[in-house]
Symmetry: C3
Subunit: 267 residues, 3 copies
């Protein structure tokens, strides 16, 4: 895959410290001309699930051959594996802790490598900052065009959040879960609209969560707002089916948390 020259960054480091600047310095030193783009550095600390969602939502807007450096890494310093994932002509670099769950769920043919070749690392590896010392130089080398086979052996057992995989149940419904809750309390589900062929036309859908059953599908928040307090389903801007309540927090009203099981029937 020819490279785009773009390296995106997604971390939970915040922007108050020198950490993100140091990572960018390393990438630019090893890959002059790299185009650096921040996805976000404000993932809640150690929230791998939020990182997986943001990565999955943003990456598909970038050109093929882009390298996505994703470091939310509560296990830094332990023996968790560093990974490269190649999926649909995009490259992902980060720890093996579930952060690539959504990318991997969408693409069963992704290539996954464990990063073992220390020739790509900085000469000195700190105990606490692999984002700078391991992941950044690897992302730089990938961005320059280094083939993924040079970084380490293929693996096929990456950490994936189980709740992210929808599965068909005995009664014919699809079992999924709440992937992410946004700032407005909208609950992003694991049901991706492209897979379900849910569009504005085919509205025949029923979603069960806890004791609730939601059948109302809206095309816009305005349409949803017509019935105050009544939950509705909407395809959100990231392409996932979301549970929403106009002027309110669906998560709070329906008492939903990340990982909550959901059951979907499409007619």
């Amino acid at each position: 895959v020819p490279r785009s020259g773009i390296v995106t960054l997604l971390t939970d480091f915040g922007t108050e410290d020198y950490f993100v600047g140091a990572m960018k310095g390393v990438v630019l030193k090893q890959f002059p001309g790299a185009v650096l783009v921040d996805i976000t550095h404000h993932i809640p600390r150690h929230d791998i699930s939020a990182a997986a969602f943001a990565l999955s939502a943003a990456c598909r807007n970038f050109p093929p051959g882009t390298v996505h450096l994703a470091v939310v890494d509560p296990g830094v310093g332990t023996n968790r594996r560093p990974l490269i994932v190649e999926s649909e002509e995009h490259f992902f670099v980060g720890p093996d802790n579930g952060i690539f769950s959504l990318v991997l769920r969408r693409d069963r043919n992704a290539s996954i490598r464990m990063i073992t070749n220390a020739a790509f690392f900085l000469p000195e590896i700190s105990f606490t900052f692999h984002g700078r010392d391991i992941f950044s130089p690897v992302a730089a080398a990938l961005g320059r065009g280094e083939p993924i086979g040079h970084f380490g052996p293929a693996i096929d057992d990456p950490v994936c959040f189980e709740s992210y995989a929808n599965e068909l149940t005995a009664d014919g419904s699809l079992k999924g879960s709440v992937l992410h809750i946004d700032h407005f309390g909208n609950c992003v589900t694991s049901f991706f609209s492209n897979e379900l062929r849910i569009t504005g036309v085919a509205k025949e859908v029923r979603l069960r969560a806890k004791g609730y059953c939601i059948e109302r599908v809206c095309e816009s928040y305005q349409e949803g707002a017509a019935k105050e307090g009544v939950p509705f389903l909407i395809v959100g801007s990231a392409g996932y089916l979301e549970i929403s309540i106009a002027q309110s927090s669906a998560a709070r009203e329906l008492n939903l948390v990340v990982g909550e099981p959901l059951f979907l029937e499409v007619f």
Copy 2:
């Protein structure tokens, strides 16, 4: 106008979500080599007035041929028009809701187009994220050199905040208003120093606001601090006359809000 290759971004999306990253991905995908610069993504949510001020204050520092993508868009999903403005060799892309009021006030010869040509949009348009689906690809095409005539018809009735236009009153004073209040409580007025020829030399100015009359003009905050608690006028770094009180909030002390009418006499 030859393009600079620079695309600036100004939104109220914050930097916690994937939104800004997604917009940048779209711009880079359609305009490889674009140089992306954030003005700010921390405009208070839906505060079009603050966005208009920040855009106007920052844009003039960029080279000619720069595209400024400005998305503070409470009306997304309604029939508010998407616009391109070409003014003084800069290009502006965003919703028609007053966000370009200050840019347009300074340049009566600006060209304004309504964006209608869907060939420039992403294939799928979400209801909630036109920043990504409409404005970003249009900014990319503009940045690549596409002439503004290709995007849609000329219009001459853009939404402009009326209070932004100073007008001469019967008694010979200039009627303007408070444009913006900054974090220190300084009140940025609609009086642009270049227009008024107010410099350090010509200090003969009188400004009336509510019951107050301010005649003191200072060249620096230090000079202003010499008289504690006494309001003074100063030309701020954005070029506008500001009302300030040393070590205090002029907005709070003088009870001024955005839009408050002001009357200026220059001798």
Copy 3:
């Protein structure tokens, strides 16, 4: 020194206002093709010490020939000098207020120039925003390759924080101080690990602070966490010896503040 084309930015301006965008516009206008990288804009307001630390920690990851624009400038508008520092093939631009203390401490052969040549400034200089009007265009010119001799005369008396210079005491210990306290309460000391040859192997170190004496050296925070509540020394990711307490704030527990004298013995 050939230039890398990179200009980094470090300020206390925050990202809510148009200030950082305006600085970037100026740099790009005068140095088309510059690669701009934010270190951070969230240095606590006027905290020169925090800026000195972040600058020193991040700069060494960038390629030689990089220009670092560092503007934390409580004295803007007074007669504090604007400076250029050339050290170890990096260039630094900012006010003469101690912000370069750590850079200068590491390199006794740095070249320092007072910026006096107004030909490099913007045509109009505001009283309050030298970051845009003086430092940005100077950084742009430096980045384009202008030799430092063109900007003004050499000086040899820059403002440096005295507490930053470790000194040998009569009893053979090294006197230093607390440089910086991070968000977790870890106390970054003025003892740079490279200078001390403290590695995982040579653990024979004793540090005295106030009434305390710390002899425990850990290689990782995990190792440190084995003894809850017991302070330990660790080489932090910026290369300095740090005082840390697992799951707690060493600064609070040991009552340490920035500038606190420390005494180190290495055996």
